[in-house]
Amino acid sequence: MFNMQLKAIWSYRGFIWGSVQREFQSRYRNSILGSLWAVLNPLATILIYTVIFSKLMKARLPGMNDTLAYSIYLCAGVLTWGLFAEIIGRCQTVFLENANMIKKLNFPRICLPVIVVLNAGVNFVISFGLFFCFLIVTGRFPGWVILALPLVLIIQIALAMGLGVVFGIMNVFFRDVGQFIGIVLQFWFWFTPIVYPISILPKSIQPLILLNPMASIVAAYQSILVYGQWPEWATLIPPAMIAIVVCLLAIGLYKKRAGEMVDEI
């Protein structure tokens, strides 16, 4: 059944790619600066974290003398979390937002979350590209370990897409899901060591935090980008397993409920 979905996505690649382009264009269409805004937004985020935390608050990462280390730590977590949250947030409303199209046209609905992921990917590439420029300019580019980044990203995107589709389908039947997930994502952000290092937590809580798959994923990014070290591969196995399970669950739920979904939206 996985194969069939892939085939459907492939045969509608024209539609998917067109939709991604169109969404990007339509966002900046009537603005004077156009797609420059796509760059200015993440630039502002990076600037705020560097200036406020490293210069004004003089925040330092424990065990690091580097003034910019905490900024890089923050960016590594915040930008990748942004990708994760965007995929989940958009996926959960994607079926409801396109209700009219789903009801009137016959096309593989699985294309819709794929479009969401690709759009989030485009935004992420822009913001992460800027972040890379910043790393290179300040002479803090981590080097070869950067090759580990795509693998971590794949695990994270699979997890986000799986969860997003599950929530997206449930949201059609139970509109409470959409509201609930907004709250959950806020808690999840603060239960993941993104703004703070895990070492400031009491020793007894640290293993609990590691049950959170995003904690291991974000830790891997931080290890690559802040410390220039390969991530601890073993810690990535549980998130990868969870991602696979969630994706299978999403496909199963989609298979079972896609037909009924049309009657509900």
Binding site: G14, G18, R22, K103, K104, L105, N106, F174, G259, D263
Partner: protein, 415 residues
């Protein structure tokens, strides 16, 4: 070749008792249902061959849209199956997925992708689409600047850019201007000649009868009638007046036509005759000659008042003329059971040549929708001939005469 095969098709919607019922159903396995089943469509069977045109009619909520959506593949059936051999194009709503800020050309590409075409395929179809839509340079303007007619033409052009094997049209065409309707219907006709099967939902009797070979009448989710267009449309018409299936019956006559009879049956027509000036019953009438339409009625139950009327329809079911005793200022009152009533309408047959049918109506008031005693479609058929007058086209004989005045130009010598 069978293009479409619908077998025992049914669609049920669930109505949950409360917001919590569905959650309970998902989480707690239990045998007792937590919802009411509402059948929007039940036990529909149909086979359509290549090149056939099927009309689907029914009152609001009869299940027409549900049926089309299932055939188009946007909704899944609860029971039964739909088997389609070939490519389907569904015009359920024109302009679906158009984005107002983008140009016509960009939207065409986008819509084409949504139909599953690939980029180079769309590029090769684009000139034909621009041609059909006739919007000129507007193709590169945002579609928000389009008039609704332009938008419709463009959307229709994209949806029908490639000839489908099965074309589904859901009243989408009834909204455009007459030029658009003419244009789109001629494209549909061309498709049909090339072998496209057509499925048309419409309330327009003229559109249905001029295009469709067969018609399916849906009523409360069931196919209550399927047959030749005229016969099924008569049935549908009777159904609209009665809203009760048991009061409608259809009888095949000796001359091969089917009579559709509906109503409470307080009074009934037992003979319809068309009489010539000499009083002889005729079936062919010369255009322009005086005739008498004689309707013989028997009274089955006593009624206080009655209105008797008739209508003449052409072969497409379009009404040529109709009148009744109320409009003619002749009230009919105090009829008791077993009485007989003979109504003779006298008029001149000023119709063009062709075949016509007569419908009769007996009701309490001037509208047959309230207290219909009997409505009879196809009760009598006759033809109008033209052997004496000059030949003319159209359905009305206006007896035009001609006088010409020829003024010669100065250079021309009149020899």
């Amino acid at each position: 070749m069978t293009i479409l095969r619908i077998h025992n098709l049914g669609k049920a919607y669930k109505q949950y008792f409360s917001r919590w019922s569905r959650l309970a159903e998902w989480c707690l396995p239990s045998s007792h249902p937590r919802y009411r089943i509402y059948w929007a469509l039940q036990n529909v069977n149909c086979q359509v061959q290549a090149g056939e045109a099927i009309g689907i009619v029914g009152m609001n909520g009869a299940g027409k849209s549900t049926l089309l959506k299932i055939i188009a593949g946007t909704t899944q059936p609860t029971t039964g199956s739909v088997e389609i051999n070939g490519r389907v194009a569904a015009l359920l709503e024109l302009g679906m997925g158009f984005h107002p800020e983008f140009t016509g050309r960009q939207n065409v590409v986008m819509a084409g992708q949504l139909f599953g075409f690939l980029a180079d395929e769309i590029q090769s179809l684009l000139p034909g689409i621009e041609d059909f839509a006739e919007i000129g340079d507007y193709i590169d303007q945002p579609v928000r600047t389009y008039s609704s007619g332009m938008l419709m033409r463009l959307a229709f052009a994209v949806a029908t850019a490639k000839r489908p094997d099965l074309l589904i049209v859901d009243e989408a065409l009834s909204v455009g201007d007459s030029y658009f309707q003419y244009k789109s219907f001629s494209r549909i006709r061309k498709f049909r000649e090339e072998g496209t099967t057509l499925l048309l939902v419409s309330h327009d009797r003229g559109a249905i009868q001029s295009i469709c070979d067969r018609v399916m009448v849906l009523h409360n989710g069931k196919a209550v009638k399927e047959g030749p267009a005229e016969e099924a449309m008569d049935f549908y018409h009777a159904l609209m007046a009665e809203r009760d299936l048991t009061l409608i019956r259809q009888e095949r006559q000796a001359y091969g036509k089917v009579q559709t009879i509906s109503g409470g049956g307080e009074m009934s027509v037992f003979e319809i005759r068309l009489l010539s000036k000499e009083g002889k019953p005729v079936e062919g009438v010369e255009t322009g000659t005086p005739v008498t339409l004689e309707i013989r009625i028997k009274v089955n139950k006593p009624v206080a008042e009655a209105v008797v009327g008739f209508m003449i329809k052409d072969r497409l079911g379009q009404i040529m003329y109709g009148i009744n005793s109320y409009l003619l200022g002749q009230p009919i009152r105090h009829l008791s059971a077993k009485d007989q009533l003979v109504c003779c309408f006298q008029f001149e047959m000023n119709l063009g040549k062709g075949n016509y049918s007569i419908s009769t109506a007996i009701s309490k008031k001037e509208s047959h929708l309230a207290d219909n005693y009997e409505w009879r479609d196809g009760g009598f058929v006759f033809s109008v001939l033209n052997t004496k007058k000059p030949d003319f086209v159209g359905c009305v004989s206006l007896d035009a005469t001609l006088s010409t005045q020829h003024t010669f130009s100065a250079g021309h010598s009149n020899l």
